[in-house]
């Protein structure tokens, strides 16, 4: 066997996964200084990658995202939400969803809007999180929008994911906090081109309100809702763990 074939078979077995621990360690080190080996590995990854399609997705445990961001922030201490925290979270979410449905029904909205971003984790965990993330989904499909909030700066970033630009209509962001108002109030329109994330600073809203409020995104006529309340089809939200 030529040296080139040797390298190719080593790369193939590395990608296939059949090398033992010592061989894998050696390949990991060698590919850093051997471009030919590195290229051969990448080529085999491209060849085999289509098989990944056949592996069914499995939702990871919900606390993992928080543990990842804790590592990234260098705290080294991963928060471990208790079972109680999970139960409280679900209960509160359900209650808020139900409320949101009633509120939008009152407001004459066609569809139930819902959503999230809830800050009760900080009442249960020692370090109060500053960043919260909300996911807006249509019919439990892929996320349409993601909303991130930094409580320190009170900046919201609304990022379109699969949402599509609308013809002569627009997306509008709403906030609902039952202690402030029984109906949702507008946080403004979302950049209609959907090419860039929309950033908004909501300095007038108390962080405590931001934390407990629910958010929704509705489709509205160009220029925004004519009634000041959501009128069009709304996007549904799902809570994902907030970054500590």
């Amino acid at each position: 066997m030529t040296e080139r074939e040797d390298i190719d078979m080593l790369a193939a077995e590395y990608v296939l996964g059949t090398l033992d621990a010592a061989e894998r360690t050696a390949v990991t080190a060698r590919r850093q200084r051997e471009p030919a080996l590195d290229a051969a590995i990448e080529a085999w990854q491209r060849r085999m990658a289509p098989l990944d399609v056949r592996i069914a997705p499995v939702a990871p445990p919900s606390e993992i995202y928080g543990q990842i961001t804790a590592r990234i922030d260098g705290s080294g201490v991963a928060s471990t939400p208790s079972v109680t925290a999970e139960v409280v979270r679900l209960t509160v979410l359900e209650r808020r969803v139900a409320f949101w449905r009633r509120a939008t029904a009152l407001a004459g909205a066609v569809a139930a809007m819902l959503a999230l971003v809830i800050g009760f984790r900080d009442t249960l965990l020692p370090a109060p999180p500053q960043n919260f993330v909300a996911v807006f989904q249509k019919d439990d499909q892929q996320p349409a929008f993601l909303l991130a909030i930094d409580l320190k700066t009170r900046e919201l970033v609304i990022r379109p994911v699969t949402a599509e630009p609308l013809q002569q209509r627009t997306y509008q962001l709403w906030i609902l906090d039952q202690q402030v108002s029984p109906v949702p109030s507008s946080l403004g329109l979302i950049d209609a081109s959907l090419k860039e994330p929309t950033r908004k600073t909501v300095a007038s809203i108390d962080p405590a309100v931001l934390k407990r409020a629910t958010f929704g995104i509705s489709e509205e006529p160009a220029g925004g809702s004519p009634t000041g309340r959501p009128t069009g089809p709304a996007l549904h939200g799902r809570l994902i763990p907030a970054a500590p």
């Binding site: 190719d8 078979m9 193939a12 077995e13 990608v15 296939l16 996964g17 059949t18 090398l19 033992d20 621990a21 894998r24 360690t25 990991t28 990448e42 990854q45 491209r46 060849r47 085999m48 990658a49 289509p50 098989l51 990944d52 399609v53 056949r54 592996i55 069914a56 997705p57 499995v58 939702a59 990871p60 445990p61 993992i64 995202y65 543990q67 990842i68 961001t69 590592r71 990234i72 960043n131 993330v133 996911v135 892929q142 996320p143 993601l146 991130a148 970033v157 990022r159 994911v161 699969t162 599509e164 994330p197 994902i240 970054a243």
Partner: protein
């Protein structure tokens, strides 16, 4: 509309600029896929949880190294996930056990494919064809190794052949596969 490669490319570019909201979005869109891959290889949930964390920390740190001309975003991330999971199981010498491997991250019909991978459908059909041209047992070895994370020893036990023979079969199959795919 499904999440496409271009969405992920854009997110990775934002992650490279330390945009935490992009990272949250990327995690939301891809973590179930990577967890499925890791779980199949690592065969243990505690290990898979640990590997998934390491993989996303790595993605956060190395997003700037992603090159869209060399790999699709999901393939790039899947390779990181596979390699970390394989390093871990080989290092810990976790051997195949009957139950957990079937428990989660099961093999699905290619037709019921994850939306973010739909763009790979053509390549998937091609690889499938080429695997189909291998002798049945040899194609099975390749699939079991790649999808199930089986080591040479585990393949040797499963097929009742010496490790050296497995290695020979693997090399012949891989060469044949490469020729077929480049044809």
């Amino acid at each position: 509309m499904t999440v496409g490669q271009s969405d992920l490319v854009r997110l990775l570019a934002d992650v490279a600029n330390r945009d935490r909201s992009a990272f949250a979005a990327l995690y939301t869109l891809t973590s179930a896929k990577l967890y499925g891959i890791i779980l199949r290889i690592s065969r243990r949930r505690d290990l898979a949880d640990e590997v998934l964390q390491e993989v996303y920390v790595r993605i956060w740190e190395h997003a700037g190294a992603f090159d869209a001309s060399r790999a699709s975003p999901i393939a790039w991330m899947a390779a990181i996930a596979r390699n970390r999971a394989l390093d871990e199981v080989r290092r810990k010498q976790i051997v195949e056990t009957a139950a957990p491997i079937e428990e989660a991250g099961e093999i699905v019909d290619p037709a019921a494919t994850a939306p973010e991978l739909m763009e790979l459908a053509d390549e998937s059909a091609r690889l499938h064809d080429c695997l189909g041209q291998l002798e049945e047992r040899r194609a099975e070895i390749v699939r079991l190794a790649y999808l199930g994370g089986l080591s040479r020893e585990e393949l040797s036990q499963r097929f009742g052949a010496p490790v050296a023979t497995i290695k020979t079969w693997l090399h012949r199959s891989l060469k044949q596969l490469k020729d077929c795919l480049s044809a």
